[in-house]
Structures are given as C-alpha cells and as structure tokens.
C-alpha cells in the first residue's frame, strides 16, 4: 500500500491578506440516493454522527461533517483513515436501498483559508459568483460553485475560516488562485464594516 499524500503536501502561503494552506489528508465519501428516505438518513447519522443537512447546508459533529451537494447527493467528511470504513458501513446499512457510496478522498483537494473574516470572504468573493456578505453566507452554509475556471465548493466552519474543496487535478491551480486573490495590496474592503 502506497503512502497517502495530499495534493500539495501541506503547501502554505502567508504574507497576503489571509493564510492559504493545503489542509492535508481529508476523508470524503460521496453518497447519492433519496435524501428523504429514512434508511438513508439513518445510515448517514450512523456513519458520521451528523444529521442530514438541509438544502445548501453542512452539519458537523466532532471530526465529521455532512455537506449537501445536490437534492440527491451528500458529501461525508471525516478522517482520511476512516473513509474506507465509512463507505463500507454505508454499503452494509443500505443493502436493498437504491444508493451509491464512493470513497473520493484521494480525488479531491482541500484548502483552508484563514484570517480576518472580511478578508477571508473577500478572497473567495473575487473567485466565485456567490454573495459572500455576512448576511447571505455564514457558518453552516455550504456552496458548490466555480472558482474562476474550475468547479469548487466551500464552507465556513467558523468566522474567519473558509474550507475550500476542489478536484485534485486542479489543486495547484486553485491554490495559485487563492494566493493571487490574497496577494498583498489587493484588498478591496468590500465586506469591511
């Protein structure tokens, strides 16, 4: 078994408006199915400890989280080493229920953007066509969108922290984007009170 490594091996950028860093290994399991079905809701709760999130929301419990990706899809986040077990547990719990559970941990990259809340919002707002004002987006919200030219998703675990997911194949591109967006002297100040 080869040693798992995150896309950019912990690369980090400091000195700009915010700190941008490769968040390291992150377990991610995609689950597709009828999110209204009690069997699926129960399986998700059992596998992650989190309740099924509502539309465009993310629920978190300890080191696990469940993010709403589409009306029939959620992304279950957890420790990288446990993703395979999570997948197997879902498979076992959902015997006979129409579903798809796949371990996509190594197909994605995760970044953390941290700093002053207004600056963190601004760095993302420069890249995605999303209203990131505090009234429209905050902790508990999850959004799939695009980051410049590639698909990406992000959420705020707390004020001043943004977690950004993208496909692993474009990890370097997204990291460079975030760094450029956070370049010194590029502050717009749109979200400053």
């Amino acid at each position: 078994m080869s040693e798992a490594a995150s896309a950019l091996s912990g690369a980090a950028y400091e000195g700009g408006l915010v700190r941008v860093a490769d968040a390291g290994l992150q377990g991610m399991v995609t689950l597709r199915g009828d999110l209204e079905a009690e069997a699926i809701r129960a399986a998700v709760r059992e596998a992650s400890g989190c309740d099924m999130p509502g539309q465009r929301a993310i629920t978190a419990e300890g080191d696990a989280a469940v993010a709403w990706m589409a009306p029939d899809e959620v992304l279950i986040l957890g420790p990288h080493a446990r993703a395979g077990d999570t997948c197997a547990a879902l498979e076992a719990a959902l015997q006979g229920q129409h579903h798809l559970a796949v371990n996509v941990s190594d197909a994605r990259a995760l970044f953390t953007v941290t700093g002053e809340d207004a600056a963190v919002r601004e760095v993302l707002a420069k890249l995605a066509p999303v209203d990131l004002s505090p009234g429209a987006f905050g902790p508990g919200d999850f959004r799939r969108s695009r980051l410049a030219q590639v698909p990406g998703a992000f959420w705020m675990p707390q004020a001043g922290v943004m977690r950004v997911i993208c496909f692993r194949s474009v990890a370097q591109y997204v990291f460079d984007l975030l760094c450029t967006s956070a370049a010194p002297g590029s502050r717009v100040g749109y979200f400053e009170a």
């Binding site: 465009r56 589409a70 009306p71 799939r144 969108s145």
Partner: protein, 113 residues
Amino acid sequence: MLILHCPYCGVMADETELHGGGEAHLTRHGPGSSDEDFHDYLFAKENPRGVHFERWRHVQGCGKWFHAARDTATLEVFGTYPAQTTEPPKAIRKAITAKRPGWTWRGFSDPAK
C-alpha cells in the same frame, strides 16, 4: 448577465455557473418515426425574438437540469421550473401572460385561452 434561479438548490445562479442546453420541451422522435419527424426533432428549432423556453444545467453547482422561460430580446426571466415536465407549468405561463399578453410559443400560449 443572465441570472437564473435554480429550482433544485435554490440559488440565484449567475450565467457563468450554468450551461445552456438549447430548446425545452422537445419531443424525442426516435426509432420507428418518420424521416420528417426525425429531421424536425434534430434541426427544426424555434429561434424567437421574445418569449422562449430553454433547458439549462446548473453545471458548476448541483449539476441538475432545469427549464427557464425568458425573453430573448430583453433577457427578462419569467421563471424557472424543474425538468420533470413535458410542458410549462400553468404558473409560468400565467407569469408570461402578465408581461407579454397574447404570447405563443410552439403549441403553448396563455393558459386562460
């Protein structure tokens, strides 16, 4: 800039998050159909200046297909609705009538008539 409401994830999605899928409510003429029907299915599309029905995909978001009713000349959007239908819902047709009385598009028109 066109901004459409995605009926599946509920966001006001910017055009750059979407991908156009051409005309809505096409009847698929496949095996067993006449050459004429198949030809029209493939090539005979509406190209109106005014009320139009289109398919869009929220490709950089939830990934779902939906329908939109809009005006091609003014970019005014009358409404969007899920893809699981073969005709525009009555509410959408009423909304168009309120803005464009007497509109017709293929076989569809004001629901009051």
